[in-house]
């Protein structure tokens, strides 16, 4: 018989306190809580959670070890399939993946798989447990472009298989979106991101920062002059979208990418750093995804009163449930069924407000979501000092434009088959650069698939 207790709640930092700091919101389980929660897992013979995990972590197996208190063994099981467990335990949309598939969830609450994964990963870090087993070097070199989730996952698997891997990163810190996109209070940089990247380096992977592929080097030069036998492109979707409405170039309108990069990568919230950031008194964030929540909660912590403006209803918000919940707890105002039509400026060219229009939901569109339709004559103004546009991102065309034979589709995503093979021989791709902006874990899944495909490709070539 399994333990029929309710899901063990996880401790959070008090909302009143946490809006004043950038410390992590969620404290995570301690050993006792983790073992108790693990005792709820049914240990299904055909576990739906594993199938629903993009990297197929052997979830019931690791949870069983947690229940027994064998945390190192649990960590070893996870490490076979995931190189970023401390990250994924924090930022995966578990409710639509592993936990969404958990049988317990049909009648009650699913097992808290994400929090258990996080516990195991944090325990490993605190106890300095590392898994650095790898095959001997096989003499083949692979270049990985981008050190975000896709690149890290691909590099890890290839290194374990015996390849000599170099990751090229355009920015000055490795991690991609983990570094510039996701805020400290959700994903601590020193404690979590740096540690997991150090684990990848411990496998023998070299990370070269400040290399912009397409500018500093090209894929051709890496393959022809530097002897790389294959290339994996995991350069993400970094190009921000804007709305194309009047007033969008006024001072005070920024992309979520700029705002978050200043705060996360450049640590603008920390007075020891030189980076400037501007929030004024009131901030409006346009959009409803995880990035919008991150921008809103960051602005709130920097002292502004924040309103999220989203054109559909709460049900359609693309952000994770936990993020929306946390944002509300922290006092972010949600202005739903609302869309900006113009940004208003003062006589000096600074933002003073936005004109919005009310929306109603019409028929479902191609995405299956009901499409928002403006209600005529419903325009109204919201006063604000800063507008943060969080409307999604698309891949940077730099690599495609400088690599002959590399095809893109109409969304400027690289064309790749289900194994990540692009239209150029020896060049593979995965993550947001192929799928368009998605999640950390989907990018990791794509990186792993491509690693396997690169291994097959290079072995067949011999």
């Amino acid at each position: 018989m399994r333990n029929k207790i309710p899901r063990v709640p996880v401790r959070d930092q008090d909302p009143q306190e946490r809006v004043k700091n950038f410390e992590e919101v969620c404290f995570g389980y301690n050993l006792q809580e983790a073992m108790l929660e693990a005792s709820r897992c049914l240990g299904c013979k055909n576990p739906a959670c594993v199938a629903a995990c993009p990297v197929n972590i052997q979830i019931p197996n690791f949870i069983y070890q947690v229940e027994l208190g064998n945390i190192e063994e649990a960590a070893s099981i996870i490490s076979k399939d995931s190189s970023l467990p401390a990250v994924c335990g924090r930022v995966c949309p578990q409710e639509s993946q592993c936990e969404g598939a958990c049988i317990l969830g049909i009648k009650k609450e699913p097992v808290s798989i994400g929090k258990l994964e996080r516990f195991v990963a944090d325990w490993s870090r605190e106890n300095n447990v590392k898994f650095t087993n790898r095959e001997p070097l096989n003499g083949k070199k692979v270049a990985v472009i981008g050190s975000g989730p896709a690149g890290i996952a691909c590099a890890t698997d290839l290194a374990k298989l015996g390849y000599l891997v170099t990751i090229f990163e355009a920015l000055h810190e490795p991690g991609g979106v983990l570094q510039y996109g996701i805020p400290e209070f959700r994903l601590p940089k020193e404690k979590v991101v740096k540690t997991e990247i150090d684990n990848v380096k411990a496998l023998g992977v070299t990370i070269e920062t400040n290399v912009i592929v397409g500018r500093t080097v090209t894929i051709d030069s890496l393959m022809d002059n530097e002897g790389f036998h294959a290339v994996f492109v995991g350069s993400g979707a970094g190009l921000p979208r804007f709305m194309g409405i009047p007033g969008e170039n006024l001072n005070g309108v920024v992309s979520a990418n700029e705002f978050l990069t200043r705060s996360n990568l450049m640590r603008a919230y920390d007075s020891e750093y030189e980076t400037p950031i501007y929030v004024g008194k009131r901030v409006a964030v346009v959009g409803g995804g995880n990035v919008a929540m991150d921008a809103a909660r960051t602005a709130q912590r920097l002292g502004a009163k924040v309103t999220i403006v989203y054109r559909r209803t709460e049900k359609e918000l693309p952000a994770r449930v936990e993020e929306v919940h946390h944002a509300k707890e922290e006092g972010i105002i949600f202005k739903l069924l609302t869309n900006p039509v113009a940004v208003l400026g003062d006589d000096k060219g600074w933002v003073r407000g936005i004109t919005c229009i009310e929306m109603e939901l019409g028929e479902p569109d191609s995405s299956g979501r009901r499409s928002p339709i403006p209600i005529k004559g419903s325009e109204f103004d919201i006063e604000t000092d800063v507008v943060i546009m969080s409307l999604g991102t698309s891949p940077n065309p730099l690599i495609a434009n400088t690599t002959p034979g590399l095809e893109t589709n109409k969304w400027s995503c690289l064309v790749a088959d289900s194994n990540g093979a692009t239209t150029r021989e020896g060049v593979f791709a995965g993550g947001d650069v192929v799928s368009g902006a998605a999640t950390v874990i989907l990018a990791m899944g794509a990186g792993r698939k491509a690693a396997a495909a690169i291994d097959t490709y290079l072995k067949n070539k011999e």
């Binding site: 355009a170 000055h172 290399v211 912009i212 500093t216 190009l239 990418n257 060219g349 940077n396």
Partner: protein, 286 residues
């Protein structure tokens, strides 16, 4: 880390440095820029590329003390290292796609304002090597602020120097010099102006009546410099472009300079500009 292997002061407040960056030295082209960080808590500072030596693996930058960041750079010595040195960034100048044959029959004029002389230099050097005819106007506050005169003089057909106070060359603004040349009937296939935004604006207004094809290089705010943040967005004709990836060079007649200048002030804080305030344009505005 990127080591400074050579440093000299061109003027008391303008320093030139050769920095070890082999990958960038190999791929840099005229018209491009780079981003440096001086220390691990510093800003990402965009700088123009003044020169590059593919054999030695060095890239040359020129900085003037105008604020805290540039002061920090100028105070670094030979043997010191930049924490980060990323690039080359941006599109190279359009003319690098033209053949030697095409370029050798063309005549260019460059209008360089202050520190803008630095990024003009690699362009002039490249065009000279392709056999183009080149005139250069350098404008500066005073004699002490004129840089790269000898180097530039060796590559161009005519070098015109203007200073605000008349302490060297002719007294006056680059716009007046340009106008004089155009009035005299000098013909150019292409003009390129690089300098403070206000100077580029007034060069554009000066050149327009003469239908002189003119490019400007926009020094906007930037964070990443790779197209990620959009801080550098500028209005070009009826389109919004990112100076970092679509530029930095644009058709001058399509640039909304007033917007670009306003956007440069987005994060203007307590940091004070040094004693020299570029005065160009102010006279015309009155």
């Amino acid at each position: 880390m990127y080591k400074i292997v050579g440093k000299k002061f061109l003027t008391p407040s303008i320093a030139l440095m050769d920095v070890e960056a082999p990958r960038m030295a190999k791929s840099a082209k005229p018209g491009q820029f780079l981003i440096v960080r001086v220390h691990s808590k510093g800003e990402r500072i965009p700088l123009t590329i003044c020169d590059y030596d593919r054999d030695k693996g060095t890239v040359t930058i020129v900085t003037q003390v105008v604020g805290a960041s540039s002061r920090m750079i100028c105070h670094m010595e030979e043997g010191d290292k930049f924490t980060d040195f990323a690039g080359p960034l941006g599109q190279p100048s359009e003319f690098i796609h033209a053949s030697r044959e095409e370029l050798s029959s063309k005549r260019f004029i460059f209008i360089a304002g202050g520190l803008g002389t630095a990024p003009v230099y690699p362009q002039v050097k490249y065009l000279h090597s392709m056999g183009a005819k080149i005139d250069v106007i350098i404008g500066a506050k005073n004699k002490d602020m004129v840089i790269l005169e000898k180097e530039m003089g060796a590559l161009c057909d005519n070098l015109y120097i203007c200073t605000d106070d008349g302490s060297y060359g002719r007294k006056g603004l680059v716009t007046e010099m340009l106008k004089e040349l155009l009035e005299k009937g000098e013909k150019y296939d292409q003009a390129v102006a690089i300098g403070p935004m206000i100077m580029m604006k007034f060069v554009t207004l000066t050149a327009k009546p003469y239908n002189l094809p003119l490019l400007v290089s926009l020094n906007t705010l930037m964070v990443d410099g790779t197209g990620m943040c959009g801080a550098c967005r500028v209005t070009i004709g009826d389109e919004v472009k990112f100076a970092c990836v679509d530029g930095p060079e644009f058709d001058a007649y399509k640039v909304d300079f007033d917007e670009a200048m306003r956007r440069q002030g987005m994060y203007k804080t307590v940091e004070k500009e040094a004693d020299h305030k570029c005065k160009i344009g102010l006279r015309d505005e009155k």
